[in-house]
Symmetry: C2
């Protein structure tokens, strides 16, 4: 892509109304635009990041056979009455049409996915199965100052699994821990993301969160010194035995973290609400056991920025970056390098703008593409090219391939 053609522009300063580092940098660099508190538009560069994250998630979920669907945001009140959440769920936006029909704007999709899957899964032969979607969710946050970390409208991947029994579900749930760990690893957060034991709510002992350690985190976790898994403050007790490795050393390190994903057993809470059962091998109706697995795609993008950026700007992990190479052209001769690397299958952002070298360098740091390639009159003359690694800042020279 030619940077001169991109309609967005970088800003020297973060917007005054953005207190969160993630949104401030993402707005400055032209990835997102704020429409209202907690409500953002994704701009062309942001779309590329989102689609890279979706690709990672699709590939990893494909490994457990999860099937992609897309469910509506407008959800009939009746479905929410069945689960009892029409009145009890905080933060539910409600909409009434001019004939008095009421809808919830979906913050989550149990009320849709259970009656949907129920239509297709009624026998032991149909189970287990799992479905997921990428979708805009809505949550009535009264204050929303954390940029992409806590939105009123936000991009989620939500997934639901359906099983014949808890015994059958358990290995699937454990497998999902690995799948999620792999997703966050590919998204560049592997080293700072801890599997964290959290409250299982009314119906199971624990749920599991994936908490990315960073000072901007709203959550507090206690990381077990023995196994590196963690316990959320909500269930942490001094000197408790580690629920992951069972160590009773009581040695924990407190840290701030952002929840980038969570998985939890729903048991029969929602299948019961809709009377979803299956016929077992002997023809007897049995309850369907469910699990639920969420990743906030927008939040994940915000967390990467929050955790990995430096004072100069964003630093994208390779698989997340909108481009492989940020080509800073300081001479018209740079164009052939754009064509060369594009032809080799690299995704190249070519800064062909008529602005100063300093501005191009600053924008390259701000936009955060992992590899910067500089082509100037000087490098051309010396038949060299200059690479700079965005993470380490290391500059290396190579013989020009052209």
């Amino acid at each position: 892509m030619l940077l001169s053609k991109l309609f967005t522009k970088t800003l020297r300063e973060g917007p005054k109304d953005e207190v969160a580092k993630n949104a401030s940098l993402l707005v400055r660099a032209g990835y997102v635009d704020k429409l209202a508190a907690g409500i953002y538009s994704y701009l062309p560069l942001g779309i590329l990041v989102v689609s890279n994250l979706q690709k990672i998630v699709r590939e990893e979920l494909g490994k457990v056979g999860a099937q992609e669907i897309f469910m509506p945001a407008l959800q009939p009140k009746e479905n929410w009455l069945k689960t009892g959440r029409w009145e009890t769920m905080d933060n539910l936006y409600k909409v009434t049409d001019s004939e008095g029909r009421e809808f919830a704007l979906g913050p989550t999709h149990e009320e849709v996915v259970v009656p949907l899957v129920q239509k297709f899964a009624s026998s032991y032969r149909d189970l287990p199965l799992s479905v997921y979607q990428f979708q805009s969710k809505f949550r009535m946050e009264l204050r929303s100052k954390s940029g992409l970390l806590r939105g009123r409208e936000f991009l989620m991947k939500d997934m639901y699994s359906f099983h014949k029994s808890e015994d059958e579900m358990r290995p699937f749930y454990e497998k999902m821990k690995e799948v999620y760990s792999q997703i966050f690893k590919r998204a560049g957060l592997g080293e700072i993301t801890r599997i964290t034991f959290a409250s299982g709510g009314a119906f199971s002992e624990f749920s599991h969160e994936f908490q990315a350690e960073t000072p901007a985190g709203e959550d507090t976790i206690y990381i077990c010194e023995s196994c590196d898994q963690a316990v959320n403050r909500e269930i942490f007790k001094e000197k408790m035995k580690c629920p992951a490795c069972k160590s009773d050393s009581g040695a924990y390190r407190e840290a701030k973290a952002i929840e980038v994903g969570n998985i939890f057993e729903l048991k029969t809470k929602f299948s019961d609400a809709f009377g979803m059962t299956y016929k077992d091998e002997t023809g007897i109706e049995q309850p369907v056991i469910m699990g639920c697995y969420g990743i906030g795609i927008g939040r994940l993008m915000g967390t990467i920025v929050e955790a990995l950026s430096d004072e100069k700007g964003i630093i994208w992990p390779e698989e997340v970056s909108p481009f492989d190479i940020h080509l800073v052209g300081l001479t018209a001769g740079a164009k052939v390098f754009y064509e060369y690397y594009t032809k080799k299958g690299m995704r190249v952002l070519y800064d062909d703008r008529d602005v100063s070298a300093g501005e191009k360098f600053a924008d390259a740091e701000l936009m955060g593409i992992p590899k910067r390639l500089v082509i100037s009159g000087k490098t051309l003359k010396e038949e060299k090219i200059e690479w700079k690694d965005r993470t380490t800042g290391t500059i290396t020279y190579e013989k020009s391939p052209l």
Copy 2:
């Protein structure tokens, strides 16, 4: 994909509450599921169709340099007050949060895109530019019986262009007619889709619709016998001169049609509302001229089904079809053909289920993949393979490639 792994199942009969052919067939074949009137979930096969349509649209819009973004559904009331549409737009869903903030659920995005683009385009150097998105739109339809043709929540591609002058906009607008014609051609509707002159509203003489001729259409158009372009009933007059080819023969053919796309000049209606101007070469502020270009992606999917299906089921055009080949396996030996064609880069749906041949054939007709490949004990023995063309019904035999 193995059909035995797909969680959806076909239905013998259309649901009783679906009067529209498009929804009835799409539900029966497992492409969509109805949550409420005018509100559908997309199932795995439906997701494949939508993503094929998106691919066509992205490729064609890329040719005019349009840039993809993604804007929110929750839109602050203030933006809608500025354009005057908070009170005047029919069918606007409105949401109020517990602190009294009001939002519209976007049925269209002028109220978001203008202030967004305004931040980046303030000089003649920044124009022209165009942006588009794929997004769920919301419209408070009180009755909604047309399946995917008229939804309360529906998938749209909307695009907006920004220009320095009407003179500059005109060739772009004409180019968009070609782009849209090409999109509908690739989507399989080329032969039945007519560029149709419609009302331009308060601010221009005409807008242009793309109307797909089919008896189920809610619109009535008059097709000029000379040029094959059409006039919408809302502006048609007996014996009028054709606004497209200027023929005054007065020879028109009346037809029912579904509007699958529309393009219209917005002139300065929305740029004025937000005070969006640009500085021209001499430093003088000038009004920004806008155009707007919509395609209902869900509606397009519904129209294809409505217009091209037969009594046995859906018939997908090649580029829209979720798979290239529907492999009906009547013997375990079919598996190697699944692997063979998949390896060749074909998208193959392999019916490996343990059901009767008749059921497999009926499902293949219903699901509508253009090419059916039958592998049976008999064909294997004769070292042949059997192809059936879904559109023509023609059966041909070939020497087996294996």
